[in-house]
Amino acid sequence: MKSYIVQAIRLTVVLTILLCILYPAFIAFAGKFSNGNGNGETISLNGKVVGYANLAQKFDKPKYFWGRPSAVQYNAAGSAGSNKGPTNPDYLKEVNNRVDTLLKYHPYLKRNDIPADLVTASGSGLDPDISLNAALIQVKRVAQVRNLDEQKLNDLIAAQTEKPLWGLFGPGARVNVLKLNVALDQMK
């Protein structure tokens, strides 16, 4: 029994060096050669970092495309879904309020034009994407506020639309909201 204790302690020390120091150090070193140098990929606008490519941020001004609701108010120092159950009456009321808000800002929409992803909170609270439909229904509003041609915005969205992995796997027809808005701000 005593020998097991000594062996266990020594093995724990040896494995700690291998698994907790050497292994992550190797990955950290290799990661330096990735986009963002292992710190996470950032997006810049006019030479200033304005966000992380993979992380949602708050867009609620009428001149921008809006992303999905967030249970953590887009706080990237935390993350969570709403964890609201599908039949929770308070939750359903909240979704209904979001629908009403959307209809207020987009008077040209009917309820069934609104795709669910735009009125439901994402799993992480930081989902960077919206579905293509969710972007398209916002075009008219953004075009009016910015005094732009709708077709130009549709083209911009088309250019920003992401495809399935290798054209084969997973959902396509989605748009990264931050990238879209940065491209929008860069438009002449």
Binding site: L15, T16, A28, N83, G85, N88, A116, F169
Partner: protein
């Protein structure tokens, strides 16, 4: 074909393409035959030498379990204190606080037992030191512990009559050097080059396009996320687990992570067949488990793709299915596929929030964890299944009026008693826990804890009950996923699930190892025409029926109060 469906079909095919050769490789590696990774032997020898271990020393099943429990208890004690004082230790760039005693108790047990319930959030509740030196360390070692225990059982059945189940340290270290570490490194590199942070930089402060100031949590997550999946651990770097866009940045990483968490459970089943020279048995077990898994997976995916009926009633269109708690880049199919695999194996990582899925998806997740024998966790999956096999052999024996035999050994009262106790343990822990928490919720709503019982639940009614049921089910199955709306960081949940975790882990390991040790010592009876053959489809169906009947009898009443009632309450 629709690209979402193609994505999950491809994930499944790739899993098999990796797991089948991996199963053969594992069987050979642990049998001590020549394999191409033998060039790693000097490293293993160095590890043994530095630790003062003689890996060739035989162990009987009692010595084996003693060695295993000794090192596991060591990690419990050492880890508890590191978590308690993590704020005073280095590698804490975000200045996160130490854990409370009850949270540290729950967390350390949870990681030692390969569960990872995580009543804290990684961004604010853990330091880089604890994430690596405790959590990631235990991701490797808890998985290796499970594999070692399974190999001991394999050996006892292969060697016909023997007292020697093999050396614990040997199996344990080899699982890490020959399997977990090399594959983790590959996965971690894929993640790091797809957007998962790998550097030690702390929080970043940015000013967004609209001018808000936001802090962004980062850290060396890539190496941990790799082993968290490969080792069926599931405890993530960030609070939102693999739904978090830095932990799981795109569909490629999503495929890699879901494949990673399924290859070892599948490979271990096949390895069992190869190791004991009954290839067919391995495939029959695989077949039973796969049928069980599909039984949960197909309705889950259909339910999630169809969307939430309550949202549909509002007149909102759900072209991408039920989206609450899901991420657009994965879609409902990949999330449904993941939610099934993460609950049949004991991973418990999530790429979408289970609490927000439609009621019947919750039913399938709960059932998968209650059965806990379709694939299951690293190593322990096959051990759980072994218990079901013994019960099935016993019942079949009674039906045909013969002494039950298992792999050439007579199964007698002692072994059946152990198997029966292990089978009864799960419903006892889950039901007693849920009953107790329901009682506290109803009668002691104002108890002075960090979260008052009256505000435990994030959802009212049947769904609230499901949140409590899910937590104990997940703890007992050492799964680690949750209906995360539950306010579980308080002394009641931390302590009660901590205890369930310990029993739910170690008894189902000790039981099967003891059965194998006891059977292994008995005289080998060669198979004859009168033997009940267990490597047949008929016996596979028999086992499947036993599993369903046992679990339906145990859990139907509780499930009827939770997800089933919720489903029928939606009109």
């Amino acid at each position: 074909m629709n690209t979402e469906l193609l994505g999950i079909v491809a994930s499944f095919i790739i899993t098999l393409l990796i797991a089948i050769p991996l199963g053969k490789y594992l069987a050979k590696t642990f049998a001590g035959e020549k394999v191409w990774t033998d060039f790693l032997k000097p490293i293993e020898n160095a590890i043994f030498k530095l630790s003062g271990i003689n890996p060739a020393k035989p162990m009987d099943w009692k010595q084996f379990l003693k060695a295993m429990m000794t090192i596991n208890i060591l990690w419990l004690v050492y880890g508890f204190f590191v978590l308690l004082y993590q704020d005073k230790l280095p590698l804490n760039p975000d200045g996160n606080p130490g854990m409370t005693a009850d949270l540290a108790f729950n967390t350390i047990i949870s990681f030692v037992v390969n569960c990872n319930l995580q009543h804290y959030s990684g961004e604010s509740g853990a330091t880089y030191l604890t994430q690596h030196f405790i959590f990631m360390f235990l991701h490797f070692t808890s998985c290796a512990t499970g594999i070692a225990a399974a190999i001991a059982v394999f050996k006892a059945f292969r060697d016909k009559t023997t007292a020697d189940v093999g050396n614990f340290w040997m199996y344990f270290v080899r699982s890490i050097t020959r399997l977990l570490l090399p594959i983790s490194a590959i996965i971690a590199l894929i993640l790091a080059f797809n957007g998962t942070p790998s550097s030690y930089a702390g929080k970043d402060k940015i000013i967004t396009v609209q001018g808000d100031t936001v802090n962004v949590s980062r850290g060396p997550a890539a190496p941990m996320i790799a082993i968290k999946h490969l080792g069926t651990n599931g405890g993530g770097w960030f609070g939102a687990n693999s739904a978090h866009p830095l932990e799981n940045p795109n569909y490629l990483t999503n495929m890699v992570e879901i494949i990673a968490q399924f290859i070892i459970p599948v490979a271990m089943i096949l390895a069992f067949g190869y190791f004991i020279n009954r290839k067919k048995l391995g495939w029959i077990i695989f077949g039973v488990m796969m049928v069980g898994t599909l039984m949960f997976m197909v309705p889950t995916i259909i339910g999630e793709v169809s969307g939430n009926p309550m949202i549909a009633k509002m007149g909102i269109s759900q072209p991408t299915g039920s989206m609450e708690g899901k991420e657009v880049r994965f879609g409902p199919m990949a999330t449904g596929y993941w939610s099934t695999l993460t609950t049949v194996t004991s991973t418990g990582s999530v790429n979408g929030m289970h609490d927000s899925m439609v009621p019947l998806s919750g039913l399938w997740q709960l059932l998968a964890m209650m059965i806990n024998g379709f694939f299951g966790g690293c190593g322990v999956g096959i051990l759980n299944y072994l218990v079901y096999l013994i019960i099935a052999v016993f019942i079949s024996g009674l039906m045909v009026g013969r002494t039950p035999e298992f792999l050439g050994h007579k199964v007698e009262a002692r072994e059946v008693k152990i198997a029966a106790l292990i089978t009864l343990l799960s419903p006892f822990l889950i039901m007693a826990g849920t009953a107790l928490s329901s009682y506290m919720f109803v009668h002691h709503g104002n108890a002075d804890w960090a979260v008052k019982p009256s505000s435990w639940l994030n959802n009212p009614g049947y769904h609230g009950f499901s949140e409590m049921l899910y937590e104990y089910t997940s703890a007992n199955a050492n799964n680690g996923s949750g209906f995360e709306g539950l306010g579980d960081n308080n002394i009641f949940w931390n302590v009660s699930t901590g205890i369930v975790l310990l029993f739910g882990r170690f008894l189902p390991i000790i039981g099967p190892v003891a059965i194998a040790g006891l059977l292994g010592k008995k005289k080998y009876v060669p198979e004859s025409a009168g033997t009940l053959r267990i490597d047949t489809v008929t016996f596979g169906i028999m086992t499947f029926a036993v599993i369903l009947v046992l679990n339906a009898l145990s859990y139907f009443p509780a499930l009827a109060l939770g997800p089933i009632a919720e489903h029928f309450s939606m009109k």
